[in-house]
């Protein structure tokens, strides 16, 4: 078990959000089971009002979670000082089996709650709140994700030992790691070809409005970007061919560029997925969500490429 000011603050906010969800669960349950828009009963009017409370809590939760995510990354980075062997968040995340799950959960929760809020805004535009059931099934999923996240957080932080030596990023992602290999048996050049090709696909499907393919391509883009960033682009950020790590990017030495890179990448995927879900569930067009997605994906690829170009212009060679 480790302890620090940041950790106390972090767990406190997470606990507060969890409490709010438990608080609102009863309302949500009532809406799911008793909702009948055409009923003039007092209960129906009460449920309509309670819907506002649930959306208020979700709005608050999403905002807090989005602000909390960089704080969490920074917390992991600062904990690396306390763990023997860790140089950055990579070692802290891999300190036990819950770290990776927790990170993925956090991103999924932001995706789901963001989608919920967009759906909510669309619902309020309709005169008979037709999407309320979908919204509250989604809420149920989110509720269980939030509770699960609290559990995983508890398990993760209580199972970090300050005695055991953890791996540093070069051991996890470095040349001799053997732990993680590139997918599909590709080498890094293959990944890079695929990465740029996927962006072209994103662009074309956006122009042609093939939204389903666009969303699928976005998910592929997210996966490919992870590998391309970790094994190729990050070395240009660090200006060191052997330093391969997705987490050190968040550190001050590299001008916190990780927040921009990962933020734009995750934001890009979010808008595409939310765009597909919302367009399937409602009658509204979600082109503007795909536009946001493409803008963010493009920022990501531009910044990555710029690092390589800048390095080449400065040093006249590639790494």
């Amino acid at each position: 078990m480790i302890f620090s000011k940041s950790l106390v603050a972090f767990l406190f906010v997470e606990g507060t959000i969890g409490l709010l969800f438990i608080f609102s669960f009863y309302f949500a349950y009532m809406i799911l089971t008793r909702w009948n828009f055409n009923s003039p009963s007092k209960l129906q009017y009460t449920l309509e009002k309670r819907d506002y409370f649930v959306s208020l809590i979700l709005y608050f939760a999403l905002t807090s979670k989005v602000i909390l995510l960089p704080f969490f990354i920074n917390l992991l980075n600062s904990l690396s000082e306390k763990l023997p062997g860790a140089m950055c968040a990579a070692g802290v995340v891999s300190a036990n089996e819950y770290g990776q799950i927790l990170l993925i959960l956090k991103v999924v929760i932001i995706f789901v709650s963001g989608t919920w809020l967009i759906l909510n805004a669309k619902d309020k535009l309709e005169v008979n709140l037709p999407y309320i059931k979908s919204r509250y099934y989604l809420y149920l999923a989110l509720f269980f994700l939030i509770i699960l996240e609290l559990f995983v957080e508890y398990l993760y932080f209580t199972n970090i030992s300050t005695e055991e030596v953890v791996l540093c990023c070069s051991a996890i992602y470095g040349a001799n790691s053997g732990g993680l290999t590139l997918p599909l048996g590709l080498d890094i050049v293959g990944i890079l070809y695929l990465f740029y090709a996927t962006w072209v696909l994103l662009f074309l499907t956006y122009i042609k409005k093939y939204w389903f393919i666009n969303t699928a391509a976005n998910i592929m883009y997210l996966v490919l970007s992870f590998y391309a960033l970790t094994y190729f682009f990050s070395t240009y950020v660090y200006e060191l061919p052997t330093h391969k790590c997705p987490y050190c990017l968040f550190q001050k030495e590299y001008h916190y560029i990780g927040y921009l890179l990962w933020g734009s990448l995750i934001g890009g995927s979010f808008y595409a997925i939310a765009g597909l879900v919302v367009s399937k569930l409602t009658r509204f067009k979600t082109d503007y969500l795909y536009r946001n997605s493409l803008v963010l994906d493009t920022i990501f690829i531009l910044v990555c490429t710029l690092y390589v170009v800048a390095y080449y212009l400065k040093n006249g060679v590639f790494l």
Partner: protein
Amino acid sequence: MNFFKFASLTLIRNLSKNIVIFIFFTLFIFIASSFIFTSSSLQNSLDAELKGQPDIIIQHKKASRNHPIDNSIVDEINEIPGVEKAYERVFGYYFFDTANRYINVIGIDFLDEDQEKQIKHLYENFDLKVFMQKDNMLISSAVKKLFEQYYYDKFFNFIVEDEEPKKVYISGVFDKRVNLFLNDAVIMDIAIAKDILGYEENEASEIGIVVPNKLEIDNIVQKLLVITPTSKIITKNNMYKYSHELYDYKGGIFLSLFITSFLGFLVIFYSQASSISGPGKKQIGILRAIGWSINDIIKWKMSEAMIVSFVSFLSGILLSYFYIFLFKNNIFVSIFLGSDNVYKDISLEPFFDINSFAILFFITIVPYLASTLHPAWKSSIADPTEAVK
């Protein structure tokens, strides 16, 4: 006019109702931020202090207590490849009986250039020749104050076991601003310090080792273990970790306590905010009748909460900044440093980082806003026909 303008108007025009919340909230933020300012400033100073420390330290422990270490291994260590320099270090607390205070006695080998340089940094007009002519020492301004109370303004008599009192002359006073951790220190030649602290000629408190190539440190530690298998070997990294642990741990405990008491405040605030008065209901009824939606009322109420919390946040932080960094002897320092040393004659180096700011935000503004969610919603669904009655 937007929601923020409207909210600020409703707040200002009902100032007498809102001022109590504002004052309490500011007070809470003041306490929390004073604490965080103090702990991060101390930690920052300690980090800076550690930078000047040797890369490896060897201590001798018996029954887990510090025990004098035999300085004959210094030469042997100097032979290890990669070691630039190994040297003995002497320091310890001298108990000043009459005043019931501890004084930190530090012995320095003035013939060692590096160590002499550090002293020059502390005390500008340092003249080694004059200093070494007789038994002299440099003292901190806090120690000077203490000595003066007992009329020792030229020299001080250290009581030494089985010997005559050792008279050491005060040759200069260094400013405590230079180094927080020398606040209770007196600095003298290493031989005199050994005498006062009861060390033999061949003994020292610990041995410091300077290693220029940081990647070599682990290898050198292995070799040191061969030379002196029973000693405790501490690397600079360990020291960093230990110091961070100390401040972060204490800080974490304080924050937990703070959050608990803050929650008490929020419960009171919550119950006050969720009981909407008759005029309050009427006001909301009017707004609903002229076209405000439930969401608009919520936006207005949340804007009010945000204005209150941000204004309190800023005033609390500013107040504590002035208190912590411009006033001496703030009470928060003693939580970390203890108060049985010489004098709490300490002023902190201003230091503030974005992470402290974020922590403060998360433990004050976020719970405050969370506690306003339910009252805001509850007032927004107040019966709008109130206005028609």
